[in-house]
């Protein structure tokens, strides 16, 4: 077609050479669940590199053509407002032969060399990877979420326990009660010693406590004491 138009015109023969050392790159946006048609996609362009020289618009059918691309290595990106697409690396080796156009996946920010070993088919096929979600859901008041908040639950539980313990104590076995009181006294002793800064006394109190459960609480106390010391400073 190009030939015919320039028939008989010698000076334009150069022009013909100029146009044949470039190739038209064809591609297609495949519709998927993320983006199912051109109206949804909106205005979109396929660009090579910065798009200042080689670019093509995406038509209603999803096809695009980037005209007159000379040999070289390019990054193809699809520019849209609302959708994300993967970038592709396009190598044009011999503009006279469309079979030599190589398409490879490309991950943003990685060096172009060495090229990926995966070769994708040409003509290019791309599809939307995701749709941008610009809005964050509003925080609304909900009694259930408020009550399921651990702080609220703790508070409510504390309140109930406060009311319920006297009755529970009443129903408790007197011996068990005695045991519990002892234990409480031990813990209180340790806590008191630490609070007053008397570590030796605290440690001896801990040593004295033979009970395993008490020992478990002690494991945490040195850390706590260190912190309290730092904060005092």
């Amino acid at each position: 077609m190009v030939l015919r138009s320039l028939k008989g015109s010698l000076c334009l023969l150069f022009l013909w050479f100029a146009t044949t050392i470039a190739i038209d790159i064809h591609g297609r946006v495949e519709w998927n669940d993320v983006c199912s048609n051109a109206t949804e996609l909106g205005r979109a362009k396929a660009i090579l590199d910065s798009g200042s020289e080689y670019a093509g618009s995406i038509t209603a059918s999803g096809d695009f053509t980037i005209f007159d691309v000379p040999s070289g290595t390019y990054l193809l990106s699809i520019i849209t407002h609302d959708y994300t697409f993967d970038k592709l690396r396009i190598d044009v080796h011999n503009p006279a032969d469309a079979q030599t156009v190589e398409v490879r996946p490309y991950i943003e920010g990685t060096p172009l060399h060495p090229p990926s070993t995966v070769i994708l088919p040409y003509p290019i096929k791309v599809s939307a990877k995701g749709k941008f979600a610009y809005f964050s859901p509003p925080d609304s008041f909900n009694l259930i979420t408020m009550l399921s908040n651990p702080m609220t639950m703790m508070m409510v539980f504390g309140g109930i326990m406060m009311l319920a313990t006297p009755y529970m104590m009443k129903n408790l076995d007197p011996e068990a009660l005695e045991e519990m009181k002892k234990e409480q006294a031990k813990v209180a002793g340790v806590q008191k010693a630490i609070a007053s800064g008397d570590f030796k006394g605290g440690i001896s109190a801990i040593m004295a406590a033979a009970d395993e459960a008490t020992a478990a609480t002690v494991a945490k106390t040195p850390q706590k004491s260190g912190k309290s010391k730092k904060s005092k400073r």
């Binding site: 910065s50 670019a55 618009s57 943003e108 060096p111 172009l112 941008f132 809005f135």
Partner: protein, 964 residues
């Protein structure tokens, strides 16, 4: 896994995002199309109907093709063309709009008329082969096949291509003699099986008509003929039309209208001449299908028929050179409309004439500066007129009423300034010396509002609906212009390039409060707020303009009240006879403007003793950078001021330094830093040392181009003595330098395209980069030189070191700006207008140049630094323009609100967009998440618990007392 760091990051930066409910309350978006390109019939607005819905198709000076809904004037769709792809014309072909654009008409596109979706895109020749002509539509054309509906294009003045109507696939191409020949084809006509290409060949003093007929099925030349004729202006005096199936060429020759019936063999060379009357101008008013034209002569305008039998039609109107015509026909019934100054009614009117005995419809017009209009007559006989004025207003008249109106000159805005509004109290306050009875009465009157106040107080107390940072900035109840609680409501004064139109825009909703046309030939160059609300008066702005008239170019200053747009001091004061070179706002207690003329003399505005005294006292410290032309290219120089005997009353600026540049490096432009309050002078590091910011107030950015090496330069220069503080050379993108940069405090950010990848050795990668630079005093931490107060002549003035880091940026951008807040305490975000029509914010923490290239130490973590990642992720939650398509932004202006946390962002170019951002979160207002109901519920729950337990505790105590 790849996105794991991103998730961490989002978490680290706090989840600040827009809620869907905030849309339209915190932001607004004006979708504009630009002023119609009415000068050429190929791009002029026209009516089209789509499924019983009328739209107006228009191509605009902003390079947009748009369909406006005739019902309400909203944009049904628009297609924004790239800047280098100028629209040459558009044509309706059934349900498709076919466009030709680019140099020489390089690209043909088909757009769906209902949705604006692209149906095909076809390149007809390479951009570099494009023939550049003036006017842009010359040598390009589209004709639609009568039976096939296929598209025939004429491009580059010599190539005809037949394209398939739906796919745009070419079936044949015919090229006339090459571009170097003397024939330029300008018109294309189609009949059933012949395509006529009509053009002109240059001869000695004028042009000769040249016609080629082609077979529409094969594109073969049937005949090629020159018709003896003499045409002076090929673009204005030559017409081609198809009338009842036959093709005609018509032209104006020596004041006579001539027309020629074309046949495929082109045997007929005898043109018929309408010799009864001579015309100065022949107009195609859109009735050429009927063979009707309007001939404008010295004695009046006449409708003439250049079809089968050239004849004179009815005479319309007397001699009126300024009259504008438009025509419309439906079912063969022509209408012609004409706009003119009616001396009888002393009004600008539009007369619609049905070319028969019936009385014309008269429309009184609002605007006197009508530039163009398009006519449509409904089947009921009711005329619709789409009108464009010189100052960029477009209006639709239905019957005699204005149905809607759009201010399209907003799309050419070049300057914008935020102006604070006065408080409501000060707006209401009475004179100070009011008497007791008067005050009593005033209070009594105001007491009528008490029940409303009380009910709203109770409601507010119960529901907890407080004003928050995301509530709408509502107007005062009395409709007066006053600010809201947080200062979100301000006036944005904008100045447009076209017609010198100035607008006052309400920043709360985008409504136009007032508009003014400064006059024809006025180009605004600078805008300054000379008096603010804090001065105790209505805020005032000064617009420095260049006024071009036939004889001269003067610098004229307009001083306006920002609330009303009224003149404060006369309507335009001419400051400089001749071209002014630059203008600056100085603030030494009182604000005034100095304007330099081309002899570097200083002119004052307002020119009074106060500003002269302030200038005399302070001029020795003043140093201003300017651009000037030297040996045919631009240089940057710095000026100081002196009082010179010869210059009389004007102080003179004299050059003290000139930025020395390598031989082929050219200055592009300069950009002054964003000035704002500085809250802290240093940055305390994790190890308790301090980095002191380099806060030289005289720094400015200079951009340069080195075409021979394909490099772009960026310099930070001190304006006092031209010292280069920071410089960088960046690769040009295909020879074009399009670096976007901004400097605020000690923080420089620039954005460019990195394309420098040698094709043989592809080691690196290409893409957009953003580089962030922070400048600090001295040689390292704890080195303090007090740069903010230092003289430029101090030795330590250039004692500076920089942290810099480069990141891969996800977008091409067209503008960028840092946020600005009232006291500068809040963090600064970078606001960016991307080329995919979004406004996006990027947090400063992400762009910190000190981000470590390893896992941060605890000291670094304490400073809020996190590990370097070369990629800046495209976080959709930070797209502050969300679903809006804010197209072709040229500039972003940020302004503080009364809330320290919040900054207003205003972007303009084609569209206008305004929103609020809080870079550090809205720490100074009750959080959006604050839940009053929850608080009230918890408190009342506790009260109930106390009431419940109190008797129990009392009982227990009593018991304890008894049994102790």
């Amino acid at each position: 896994m790849r996105f794991l760091p991103l998730l961490f990051l989002i978490h680290a930066l706090g989840c600040w995002a827009i809620h869907e409910s905030d849309v339209g309350t915190v932001d607004w978006h004006k979708k504009l199309v630009g002023i119609p390109l009415y000068k050429s019939p190929a791009t002029a607005p026209r009516f089209a109907s789509v499924d019983d819905r009328n739209v107006i198709l228009t191509a605009s000076a902003n390079n947009v093709l748009a369909a406006l809904d005739a019902k309400d004037g909203t944009v049904a769709w628009r297609y924004v063309f790239d800047p280098e792809d100028r629209i040459a014309g558009f044509y309706q072909n059934g349900n498709t709009v076919v466009t030709l654009s680019g140099p020489g008409g390089a690209i043909a596109r088909g757009l769906d008329i209902k949705t604006g979706v692209l149906t095909f895109e076809r390149r007809l020749h390479a951009n570099s082969e494009g023939l550049l002509v003036d006017p842009n539509d010359l040598g390009k054309g589209i004709a639609i096949g009568t039976t096939s509906q296929d598209v025939y294009t004429l491009t580059n003045g010599h190539t005809v291509t037949r394209l398939d109507k739906s796919t745009g696939k070419p079936s044949w191409t015919w090229s006339g003699q090459d571009q170097s020949s003397l024939t330029l084809f300008t018109k294309l006509l189609t009949t059933t099986d012949t395509v006529y290409v009509i053009g002109v060949s240059s001869s000695f003093a004028s042009y000769t008509l040249h016609v080629v007929s082609l077979s529409s099925s094969t594109g073969q030349v049937l005949a090629d003929s020159e018709i003896p004729s003499s045409i002076v202006n090929a673009s204005a005096d030559l017409f081609a039309f198809v009338h009842s199936g036959s093709a005609f060429a018509a032209w104006l020759e020596n004041g006579n209208a001539r027309s020629l019936l074309l046949s495929p063999t082109l045997k007929n060379k005898q043109a018929q001449t309408l010799s009864k009357q001579s015309f100065e101008e022949l107009l195609d008013v859109g009735l050429s299908d009927l063979g009707l034209f309007v001939g404008k002569g010295s004695r009046g305008s006449t409708v003439i028929n250049l079809g089968d039998n050239a004849s004179l039609g009815s005479t319309i109107g007397s001699s009126d050179a300024s009259a504008i015509y438009a025509g419309f026909h439906a079912d063969g019934k022509p209408h012609i409309a004409k706009s003119f100054w009616s001396t009888s009614t002393e009004k600008y009117i539009l007369e619609v004439n049905a070319l028969d005995a019936s009385a014309p419809t008269i429309l009184p017009l609002e605007h006197a500066d009508v530039a163009h209009f398009t006519l449509h007559v409904a089947s009921s006989g009711e005329p619709q007129v789409f009108l464009t004025t010189e100052s960029g207003t477009v209006q639709l008249y239905t019957g005699t009423q204005v149905q809607w109106s759009r201010e399209e000159s907003l799309a050419t805005t070049t300057l914008a300034e935020f102006v604070e509004l006065p408080e409501q109290i000060s707006a209401e306050a009475d004179a100070k010396g009011e008497s007791f009875t008067h005050r009593l009465l005033r209070h009594a009157v105001q007491a009528k509002d008490f029940p409303r106040y009380f009910s709203s107080f109770v409601r507010r107390f119960i529901t907890g609906s407080y004003a928050s940072a995301t509530s709408a900035a509502t107007a005062a109840a009395d409709g007066k212009l006053s600010r809201d609680a947080f200062g979100f409501r301000q006036v944005i004064v904008t100045a447009s390039h076209v017609g010198g139109k100035v607008f006052g825009i309400d920043s709360s909703n985008g409504d136009i409060l007032w508009s003014r046309a400064l006059g024809a030939g006025v180009t605004p160059s600078k805008i300054f707020t000379i008096k603010a609300v804090s001065d105790g008066v209505d805020p005032e702005v000064v617009i420095v303009t260049e006024k071009r008239s036939e004889e001269a170019r003067d610098t004229v200053v307009f001083h306006l009240n920002a609330l009303t747009g009224e003149d404060v001091a006369g309507s335009g004061t001419t400051i400089v006879r001749g071209q002014g070179s630059d203008a600056f706002l100085l603030d030494y207690g009182s604000k005034f403007i100095i304007i330099l003329d081309d002899l570097q003399r200083v002119h004052f505005y307002p020119d009074n003793d106060e500003s002269r005294r302030a200038f005399t006292d302070n001029h020795s410290k003043l140093s201003l950078p300017s651009l000037a032309s030297k040996n045919g290219h631009t240089v940057i120089f710095g000026s100081h001021f002196a009082f010179n005997e010869d210059a009389g009353e004007h102080p003179v600026a004299y050059r003290t330094w000139e930025l020395p540049l390598p031989k082929d490096e050219r200055v592009q432009t300069i950009d002054r830093a964003h000035r704002g309050p500085v809250a802290s002078l240093g940055k305390v590091l994790g190890d308790r040392t301090t980095l002191y910011k380099y806060l030289n107030p005289r720094l400015f950015i200079a951009y340069t181009v080195t075409a021979s090496k394909s490099l772009c330069g960026l310099y930070l220069v001190d304006s006092a003595k031209g010292t280069v503080v920071y410089q960088v050379q960046l690769p040009a993108n295909n020879g074009a330098c399009n670096i976007q940069a901004t400097l605020s405090e000690n923080w420089l950010v620039y954005h460019y395209y990195e394309s420098e990848v040698p094709s043989s050795d592809v080691h690196r990668t290409k893409g957009y980069r953003v580089v962030t630079v922070e400048l600090y005093e001295g040689q390292g931490p704890d080195d303090k030189t007090e740069s903010s107060d230092m003289s430029s002549f101090d030795k330590a003035a250039t004692d500076v070191f920089a942290f810099e880091e480069s990141y891969i940026f996800p977008h091409a951008i067209s503008a960028l700006a840092p946020t600005s807040t009232k006291f500068g305490i809040s963090g600064k975000d970078l606001i960016v207008a991307t080329k995919n029509h979004k406004i996006q914010s990027f947090p400063r923490r992400l762009l910190n140049p000190r981000r470590p290239h390893r896992k941060p130490t605890s000291q670094e973590a304490e400073e809020g630094l996190f590990q370097y990642d070369p990629i800046i992720y495209d976080d959709p939650k930070r797209v502050i323009s969300h679903t809006y398509e804010v197209a072709n932004v040229q500039k972003i202006v940020t302004a503080p609100a009364l809330l320290e946390s919040t900054s207003m962002v205003f972007a303009f170019g084609l569209d206008m967009f305004l929103t609020r951002v809080a870079p550090s979160g809205t720490f100074d207002v009750l959080s959006e998440n604050f839940n009053k109901a929850q608080l009230v519920l918890t408190v009342s729950g506790l009260i109930a618990a106390i009431m419940f337990t109190r008797p129990m505790v009392q009982r227990k105590r009593l018991r304890e007392k008894w049994y102790m």
